[in-house]
């Protein structure tokens, strides 16, 4: 069970490790970012569409030659009145909608002209700037992945590479997309694992990774609980030590070492330059830091997983699983390097 848990932890971390670091890094970005900058609205200001006076009569609604509209709005665009007729629309603005703009003086269909769009774009920008280009885009639109309706894109020549997006069906400014906003959107894309440009976070890739990270956390916590139970996750307030006679298996030489009882034997021995072989660095997963003791020591799950029954019966244990306080005499086999050091 212990072995399954730790090897699951290892392989899951291999699967989600990079994405987990991306989640943490982008999460830190969202924590530290400047919200106004990141939303691209540093130079955004509202456009005044109201007319100074509206003396010219509006065409009576009964004379409009349109059936089947479900909603009608009197819309002022740069001082000129329009009837905005909605034939179909969804719960969100970005969802597909069927909307027609009609000149409220003449009653004719009058889509937003490029001239109007360019004026709105400049008025929405706080500061002196000029236009590089203006295009009516149809979905899919790179910077607005969820948008399902045509949108005007006006490129400005400022230092921050601002694109102004204007809804074709209303003249409303959807937003300023500049380099700050692009950085924010890239971070969001990374956080949402939206590597296939769905514009959202409800997709199978992130669901699989979320399940894998949940298992990674659960196996990690199980491991921590196991370590806590075997006494390797306790904070000792009073430092104490224990005299232990350590015999080297190869040379048969013994020495009495004063070992700290706060740490595992593996770590305490290392402080005295007695380096036991290990791949995992004291995690109980490689089974290399074997020691021998004549005393009756408890058997921990990693030992059950890594040492054979006969070895356990003979008195072999793993140094990373026991504290110095548990023993008085042990036999160790050391690394070549530590033998040299001694």
């Amino acid at each position: 069970m212990f072995k399954l848990n730790t090897s699951l932890h290892k392989w899951l971390s291999l699967l989600v490790g990079i994405q987990l670091l991306i989640w943490l890094g982008t999460g830190l970005y969202f924590n530290l970012m400047d919200h106004q900058k990141a939303s691209g609205s540093v130079h955004l200001r509202s456009v005044d569409h109201n007319a100074a006076t509206h003396s010219k009569p509006l065409m009576p609604l009964s004379q409009l030659a349109f059936d089947n509209a479900k909603q009608l709005k009197l819309l002022w665009i740069l001082g000129h009145p329009y009837y905005q007729l909605t034939f179909e629309s969804g719960a969100h603005g970005y969802q597909h909608k069927d909307v027609t703009l009609v000149d409220a003086h003449s009653g004719d269909i009058r889509p937003l002209s490029e001239t109007l769009v360019r004026t709105i774009a400049l008025k929405s920008y706080d500061g002196a700037v000029s236009i590089t280009s203006a295009h009516l885009l149809t979905p899919p639109i790179d910077e607005l992945p969820r948008e399902e309706n045509p949108v005007w894109q006006v490129k400005l020549d400022d230092a921050n590479h601002t694109n102004v997006y204007i809804e074709a069906s209303s003249g409303a400014v959807l937003g300023h997309f500049n380099d700050d906003r692009r950085l924010h959107d890239l971070m969001l894309k990374l956080h949402f694992m939206d590597y296939f440009n769905t514009g959202g976070f409800n997709h199978w890739l992130i669901i699989v990774f979320a399940i894998a990270s949940l298992l990674l956390s659960m196996t990690g916590i199980t491991w921590l609980v196991e370590r806590f139970k075997s006494g390797q996750l306790r904070i000792m307030l009073k430092p104490s030590s224990q005299q232990v006679t350590v015999t080297d298996q190869a040379t048969a030489q013994s020495s009495v070492l004063t070992l700290s009882t706060q740490e595992t034997l593996f770590d305490a021995l290392a402080q005295h330059n007695v380096l036991l072989p290990s791949n995992c660095g004291g995690g109980g997963t490689c089974g290399l830091c074997r020691i021998h003791s004549e005393q009756a020591l408890k058997i921990t799950p990693p030992e059950q997983a890594r040492l054979s029954k006969s070895k356990l019966a003979e008195g072999y244990r793993l140094a990373c699983q026991h504290k110095a306080s548990e023993v008085t005499h042990i036999t160790v086999r050391t690394n070549k390097e530590s033998a040299k050091a001694q």
Binding site: L14, P60, K70, L224
Partner: protein
């Protein structure tokens, strides 16, 4: 080196590991639940969509609009955001004025409609609700102090109409315009709590930039980087000279 990294990974995770579990759990909930379902779109009849077989969608009858826009503009010269639509089966204008706030006017008579009473609010909620459950409660919310955290105070005054049922579908209806300003149900409320725990802002969930998240995320980053080293070491490095 590996030994130290293992030790620090263990001790750091002993402090922040629970938050990793919370991040994965809340994240899994948020990505696996369809956001349109969370937003309660299934609770609302989309009156502005193409007519569905069950619900005939209403189209405007412009010839029945006796109170013209010119009339409206002469009576309310500063009216803004004027919209012509339906309130149940009645054609109405909805607009804003600085002096009167949100105004609702009958489009055939020009008569200004009074704010919704309880019975009207319930009828409006039932008109928009896709379900057929009974109304469990109807409350008029006028004060900012009594506003539940799931509702933005800018929508006030609203009728809160809650239907019976496991998920307690709730409709918030503006008292002046009779429009559904928002809905809530169990899965959305759960989503809000998931979000709060995800960004570690436990009161209103509005502040991602809190120092607690910063601290735990920084420690978590360090712990995760150490974990990456340990994984690399265990998966790709099989030499035995580890305990230096």
């Amino acid at each position: 080196m590996i030994k130290k990294i293992r030790k620090y990974h263990k001790w750091l995770m002993a402090f922040v590991g629970i938050q990793f579990l919370i991040w994965s759990l809340t994240g899994l909930y948020m990505v696996s639940m369809d956001i349109h379902f969370i937003h309660g779109e299934h609770l609302r009849v989309e009156h502005l969509r193409e007519a569905s077989p069950q619900q005939s969608s209403q189209t405007l009858a412009l010839n029945k609009v006796n109170y013209s826009l010119s009339d409206l503009l002469s009576e309310y010269p500063h009216a803004q955001n004027i919209t012509l639509g339906y309130l149940l089966d009645k054609q109405v204008y909805r607009f804003m004025t600085h002096a009167q706030g949100k105004v609702l006017v009958d489009a055939s008579s020009g008569e200004r409609l009074a704010p919704l009473n309880e019975a009207q609010a319930i009828t409006v909620a039932q008109y928009h609700f896709t379900g057929s459950a009974a109304v469990a409660s109807a409350t008029l919310i006028k004060d900012v102090e009594n506003t539940p955290s799931e509702l933005s105070a800018r929508h006030l005054p609203v009728w809160q109409i809650t239907f019976a049922g496991f998920s307690s579908p709730t409709f918030y209806i503006n008292q002046h315009t009779a429009e559904v300003v928002t809905t809530r149900h169990l899965a959305w409320r759960a989503f809000d709590w998931m979000w709060r725990f995800h960004i570690m802002d436990y009161d209103d969930g509005e502040n991602v930039a809190n120092w607690f998240l910063l601290l735990i995320a920084l420690l978590g980053c360090v712990a995760a980087c150490m974990g990456a080293v340990l994984t690399y070491q265990r998966v790709f490095n099989t030499s035995q000279a580890g305990a230096k």
